[in-house]
Structure formats: C-alpha cells, structure tokens
Symmetry: C2
Subunit: 249 residues, 2 copies
C-alpha cells in the first residue's frame, strides 16, 4: 500500500504523525509550502516534495476546504483512491478519474498540541465496499472509533463540532479578554472550565446548565451588560436569549 | 468555631460536603426547603432546621442572589461573621449588625456531580484582618487556592466565569440539539470537547482558534447557516462575527 498525504497544515501534520506512530508507511508528503513540509519531513522521517507527486494507491488530501478541488486536480492517475479530510465537502468535490472518498477525523488539530489519536472518531465514505474496507482498515490502526458516514450526516457532524469546539474556544478567548482587562490570571478559571466539561460526561448539558440566565436573575444580567462592550456584549445577549428560550423562561 | 450553612441548593450542598470531608464541623444547615435539607442532613450527618436558626460565630449564606438580602435579615445576632457566596453581590447586601464578608467559590455546582474541592479557587473579602484570617484558614482547609478579592474584581471574575462555563455549557446543549436532530450520538464529540479544553491549558485560546470563521471560509459559513434555525442561527452568526472581529478578518 503506497500512501501519499497532501498538505502541510495542522491536519496534514497530525495525519502524517498518526500514520508514523502506527507504523503505516507513507511514501511522501506533498504540498506547496516547502518550509513546513521540510519540518514535518525531518520530524517524521517521510520524504517530501513540492513538485513531483509520487505514484501511489491512496492520496489523502489534508488542505483547507477552499483548496481541495484544485489540489485534487493535481492527481492525474486513474487507478487509485483519493480521500479528502473535510467535514463539509462531498467526496464529489474531488475532480479526477480516480475513486473518490472522504476520510474525516473529528478533532481539532494544532501543530503545537500533541494528541491521543486512538480516541479520534474517523468517519469514512467511499464509492464501493472494497475502498470502504481499505479505509476502515487504515483508520482502525490509528483509532478505536471508525464509522461510516454519508455527506448529509457529515455536514451536521461538522456543524455540531463548530458549536462544541470552535465556538467554545472563542468563548474562552473572549473570557480571557475580560479577565486580562482586570489583570485576573486566566489560570483561575481552568478548574471551572475542566469541571464544565467533566460534567457533560455524566449529565446532559441541558440539565447541567447553571448561571444567571437559567436562574432568570435579571439584576445580574443587567449588571453584566454594564461591564461589557462591543462583541462581548453581543455574545452575552445572544447566549442569554438562547438559554432563556431553551428553558422557556 | 460554630458554623451554620444557610441554603439547600447546589452551592449549599457542596459547601456542606466540602466542610464535612475536611472535618470542619457544621453546627447546622438551615433553609426553607425541608425535603432537600433532610437529604443533605442524612447524607452528611449534619443537623438541619427550617425554623430555628442556631447561634453561631459564622453563617455562610448559600442561596440564590435574589434571596441573599432577605435571608441575611434572619440573622439577628450581632457578634458574628456572615458571608455570602455570590459572585456578583457586594458584602453590603447583607442586612444586619454583624460583620459582613464574601466567600466566593469559583466553580459550577450540581448536586449529582462530585467535585474535587481542593482545586476550587476561593475569593474572600472581609471588613477586617481578623475575619480575613479566619475565612482564609477555613477556605485553606478545603482548597489549595485561596485569594482575597474586592467586589469590583469579583464582578469581573463572575462575568468571566459566565463566558467560560455557563455559555460554554449552553453551546454544548445547542450542539447536542443539532446532533440529536440527525441521530448522531453526542458521545462522538466528547474527545473533541476534551481536546478543546486540554488545548487551552497549553496554548492561549486566541492562538488555539480553529474552524471556518477564523479561516474565513465563506462557503462553509453559508452552508451551515442553511442547516440551522431559530436561536442556533443567532448564536452561529454572533459567534462568527465576533471571531472575525477578533482576528480582523
């Protein structure tokens, strides 16, 4: 099995690393950014190129959504399988005469943050059973949690992830902006944040809700609005409105 | 030292439990809700009453913000210290001739969720040094992390906590609503959520941001808006707008 990873960003790096750790040989890591590729190549001992795409059986495209289509056209080989790793693109975005598939790891990737790959859910979609078995076999070497998913479902998985991860992280960023403005160390909030997440491993998020909005504590809601400005006040109002709608307050 | 806890909700329960675990004797747990008090009393072996407030040196009021003032008037004793546990009330909300203080645990409390009390930051505000030492001594038996905080600062600590905990939990609730609507088990998202939080132990939240808004991926943003409705679409738009403002996109 000859596998090439295309891309040099966060997803490409972590896929390459996961493959290396699980002893799945990579023929090449290919992309535009030579500097980033060189770093990955050095760290993981995988050949890289910015120019000559190797002849492989499987290409895994790990680039931003906007670039998937154009990058997919670089693969001119016909008898091969191509997968993209996007949560919100159909496999038909891939433009070529090869077999098309989706190989979606549900996780947030940053190069500077190590990951436990075994816990990452992988969602696979292929054109035929054989390719499905192949991608399941590969993903199962990396993770305990491999599933099939249609594009229809994957779109919603990605959307849910945006709420549960991207927006959550942005709340942390806005929270830190508030605490920084008062010279309150953000570390104080880490036990609270950890507990907020531990809680939903045991209790439904809807049942775990606490805070002034769900108590309909109008005095505190008004006090807080006076302390906020700009985007944070918009978030404050929108979130409180949504909480109050959910609990019919 | 004779200590009474007033209240029967989440905070009262966990304070009583923390005191019990750390062998700080409680004279009584007092409140209106006899049924809840009885449960706490049975579990922790602390006397309770709904009618006769015991004579104590320290009363810790653990009731909702709206009730702190009226509850504080039940304490007619003068030579004692009274503390409330609210993040957003001044100690002067307490109405009586006793010494007033604030004893604020920065955590989210649900009766059904066990907690590691040692990691909870406690913020203390008193009228004099002696009371400060007393509350520090007590809080230090429970937690490794005890600090002084003025009302001005506490307001912002509480506000930061609303963003980092209450709103984050609500995002989980809205995320689950989306995944439930497509019969996607919410458990799939737990490794992603865990990683989102682990990440900010190592990386600044602003630097950890991922997702379509920070990539300015207009196609995905429009696709997602088509999948959403009602409050979730308002959250979606507000959060994306705020992300794009933060990164000047």
């Amino acid at each position: 099995m000859q596998i090439v990873i295309i891309g040099s960003g966060n997803v490409a790096y972590h896929m390459a690393k996961a493959f290396s750790l699980k002893k799945i040989p990579l023929l090449q890591i290919f992309g535009r950014n030579g500097e980033e590729l060189k770093k990955i190549s050095n760290e993981l001992d995988i050949p890289y190129s910015t120019e000559n795409l190797e002849n492989a059986n499987l290409y895994i495209i790990c680039v931003s959504d906007n670039s998937v289509e154009s990058v997919s056209q670089l693969i001119t080989k016909k008898d091969c399988l191509v997968a993209h790793t996007s949560g919100s693109l159909p496999k038909e975005i891939l433009k070529g005469e090869y077999r098309k598939s989706s190989f979606y790891p549900l996780q947030t990737f940053s190069k500077s943050k190590e990951l436990d790959y075994e816990k990452i859910p992988f969602f696979v979609e292929t054109e035929n059973q054989q390719d499905k078995h192949l991608l399941f076999e590969i993903a199962s070497k990396i993770s305990e949690n491999v599933m099939e998913s249609s594009y229809e479902k994957r779109k919603y998985i990605h959307l849910t992830a945006v709420f549960a991860c991207n927006f959550v992280n942005h709340l942390f960023a806005r929270a830190k902006e508030i605490s920084d403005s008062q010279e309150i160390p953000f570390d104080y909030f880490l036990p609270l944040i950890d507990e907020t997440v531990q809680k939903i491993h045991e209790i439904e998020p809807k049942a775990a809700q606490t805070g002034p909005a769900v108590r309909n504590d109008v005095r505190v809601l008004e006090l807080h609005e006076q302390l906020l400005k700009d985007e944070s006040i918009e978030i404050y109002k929108t979130m409180n409105h949504s909480i109050q709608k959910m609990y019919e307050l």
